[in-house]
């Protein structure tokens, strides 16, 4: 009986996975079609690389990719630098004010970007941060900090304080406590947090387009240059999107392994 159970779960799991993935799959194969055949429902067709050729000829892909990487990874690292100490403190040494502080942090994200476009633009202009990778890192760090704190806090709360306490009683220093006990237990949580932060920064399409021009533009600006108001672009946009998503997909695949590793590394016991 149990074997049938596993089979059914497998089938349902895979059906859902395929449904979720289907639109991306369709975009991926459209990238290999000609512009003329881009909107036809054929699954079988002669693949061509001409859209990719057009994309590379037209835009400096490398510049956009590097900018995206700098900004996403940079802002995520700075986020963790600020967030992990704060989340550690809030989770293991909470005060009556902690709940309120957490909610307040989230409330800094309540203002829709469209409402605050001009104030931020003027501020950035005054500080010379327009079209500047550092400026983007600053704004993404501030945008993602509440998320980083919340998620790290959540994962820290799942770790029983007793284990850390036991370590302390056994004579571990603060550093040893953090590195040998805390780290393995929260690694899966922090990995998924890191992945999520990177994706939020990678796909952020409002500030990255409005605050950059030629030098600091990341992949979101690259994509925006492909949805033309007057002209067919489906195959090219698909190719460009594939190129924009590819680095993240690779990162996601690597992080998956890390997640699994983190689990077998240290069980809660």
């Amino acid at each position: 009986m149990k074997k049938y159970g596993t089979l059914i779960f497998g089938i349902v799991g895979w059906v859902i996975a395929l449904i979720m993935f289907f639109p991306i799959f369709w975009m991926a194969i459209t990238a290999f079609k000609t512009e003329q055949g881009a909107y036809s429902p054929d699954l079988i067709f002669v693949p061509t690389l001409e859209s990719f050729k057009d994309v590379f000829a037209r835009s400096n892909y490398l510049l956009f990719v590097m900018n995206s990487i700098y900004v996403s990874i940079g802002s995520t690292l700075v986020c963790f630098l600020f967030a992990i100490p704060a989340a550690y403190k809030m989770s293991f040494f909470p005060t009556p004010k902690t709940q309120g502080r957490l909610l307040w942090m989230l409330s800094t994200k309540m203002m829709p970007a469209v409402g605050v476009l001009v104030p931020i633009y003027l501020l950035f202009r005054s500080f010379g941060l327009l079209d500047n990778l550092f400026g983007l890192i600053v704004i993404y760090t501030l945008m993602n900090l509440p998320i980083a704190v919340w998620m790290s806090y959540t994962y820290f709360c799942e770790i029983p304080a007793a284990i850390l306490e036991a370590g302390r009683i056994d004579g571990a220093t603060l550093w040893e406590e953090l590195w040998y006990l805390l780290r393995p237990m929260c690694l899966p949580g922090l990995s998924s947090t890191g992945l999520i932060l990177i994706i939020f920064a990678w796909n952020e399409a409002f500030w990255s387009i409005n605050l950059t021009s030629a030098n600091a533009a990341p992949l979101t600006a690259f994509i925006a240059s492909y949805s033309s108001p007057e002209g067919l672009f489906w195959a090219k946009l698909s190719a460009a999107s594939l190129l924009a998503v590819a680095p993240i997909m690779v990162l996601g695949w690597l992080t998956q392994k890390q997640l699994v590793q983190g689990l077998t590394f240290g069980a809660v016991k």
Binding site: Q36, E230, G231
Partner: protein, 435 residues
């Protein structure tokens, strides 16, 4: 040691001065195919001007308009050349945000640029932008389907002819629709086409006292005609179809007629991307009660913001990109059918260009479109498919949304017009009209 000092110093000075003279010109443009081609050919300009380096910011229309407006109006100097249209140029020029264009080489031939464009891009007699690309609107139809049904397109069709043709050509069972028109909400989307339909049907946006005239019998007749036509002979999903969706419908052979930008002609005749190349016919945009404002006028033109850091180099590029030489460069690269349309008379005099079936109707449209005379009676604004005031971007879109809602059956035409009248009244009152 001393012997090396002087030549070393000289080399250093020369090196530094060459670096110092490298001027970076940042250009912001829309991502239409003609601009993509311009970027592709721009190394030729950099070869002729080794001290100038071009930096491109190319993105879609609404985004670049937002970026450019924010930059130019706050004097931020992020861009040295901006690509703006007939709508923004007079508004920006009035505020003193642009430098006038004054330095032309001898062979530039300013008079060769269409007068309608030169006027549209000037303010108080000075030219503030050089047109790179010009378009009007026209009727594009499937000549082969017309011939099949024995229909003939008159030299100047009227909208009642269009209804007759559409009814005859619609074959929903076969998946062919008589006509497709823009329906996606937006001041530059559905309202661009509807603006021309409304003008030619005798409607106006405002009377001379800046009172909106939307809730009127003329508007009701015109909009009802549009909705009935689309319901009977248009494709499903019309209320979300913009230029691109309609282009896709036409190139895949699903629609028999389309009234839209003249630039679509080049795309429809492109054998690589269109299944209907060689089957198309082109006619002037239909008229109704008056020929005024029956087809729009638009241009993407290069202007130089006051705050530009490299104004001289920028002007050099703008002049190069809009010159006869550049047009010839494009012709050598991708053929005459692909040159930037609608800017110079000399392009249309060229026998090679005249071979394109859409050349003659485009020329006629460009020469007869008059933004200073868009309606059947005098009006306080200029602009054919737009009202040339800054607030239009907002209330034009709201009206577009209401009409799109009526098209999708979410409201009646009366309700849509009533709501639009109210919205536009509030908008202009807020902005202080009449001034």
């Amino acid at each position: 040691m001393k012997r090396f000092a002087s030549p070393l110093f000289a080399v250093l000075i020369t090196g530094v001065s060459v670096l110092a003279q490298q001027k970076t010109v940042t250009i912001a443009t829309v991502n239409n195919p003609d601009m993509i081609e311009l970027k592709k050919l721009s190394p030729k300009f950099e070869e002729k001007n080794p001290d100038i380096k071009l930096n491109w910011v190319i993105t879609e229309e609404n985004t670049i308009r937002q970026r450019i407006t924010t930059d130019v109006s706050t004097g931020s100097g992020q861009f040295d050349i901006v690509q703006i249209g007939l709508y923004e140029t007079p508004i920006f020029a009035k505020r003193g945000w642009l430098r006038p264009m004054e330095n032309f080489p001898a062979d530039y031939d300013l008079e060769d640029l269409f007068k309608s464009l030169r006027d549209g891009l000037s303010y108080q007699g000075k030219l503030y932008a050089l047109p790179f690309y010009g378009e009007s609107s026209m009727l594009m139809y499937r000549k082969d389907l017309f011939d099949e049904k024995g229909l003939k397109m008159p030299d100047q069709p009227k909208y009642e002819d269009i209804k007759k043709f559409a009814d005859a050509l619609t074959d929903k069972a076969k998946g062919v629709y008589g006509i497709t028109l823009r329906g996606k909400p937006g001041w530059g989307e559905n309202m661009a086409f509807l603006g021309t339909l409304l003008n030619t049907s005798g409607c106006t946006w405002f009377d001379m006292k800046w009172t909106p005239t939307i809730d009127t019998p003329e508007w009701k007749k015109a909009i009802t005609f549009y909705i009935d036509l689309m319901k009977a002979d248009g494709p499903p999903g019309a209320s979300a179809n913009g230029f691109n969706e309609n282009l896709t419908l036409m190139t895949s052979g699903k629609a028999a007629m389309w009234i839209d930008a003249t630039v679509a002609g080049g795309m429809l005749e492109n054998t690589k991307e269109s299944q209907v190349a060689g089957k198309m016919g082109y006619a002037p945009s239909p008229i109704e009660a008056t020929p005024n404002g029956s087809h729009w006028l638009w241009s993407w033109a290069f202007a130089i913001p006051k705050a530009a850091k490299q104004a001289e180099a920028a002007e050099k590029f703008a002049v190069w990109a809009t010159s006869k030489d550049y047009i010839k460069l494009v012709a050598d690269d991708i053929g005459w059918a692909g040159v930037p349309p609608g800017t110079r008379k000399s392009t249309y005099d060229n026998p090679e260009y005249q071979k394109s079936p859409f050349a003659a109707p485009t020329l006629q449209a460009m020469q007869t479109a008059d933004p200073t005379n868009p309606a059947i009676k005098p009006v306080p604004y200029t602009g054919i498919q737009f009202v040339g005031i800054p607030e239009f971007q907002s209330f034009g879109t709201v009206v577009g949304q209401n009409i799109s809602g009526a098209l999708a059956g979410k409201s009646t035409v009366d309700q849509a017009l009533k709501d639009s009248q109210a919205a536009v009244s509030r908008a202009v009152k807020q902005a202080g009209y009449p001034k």
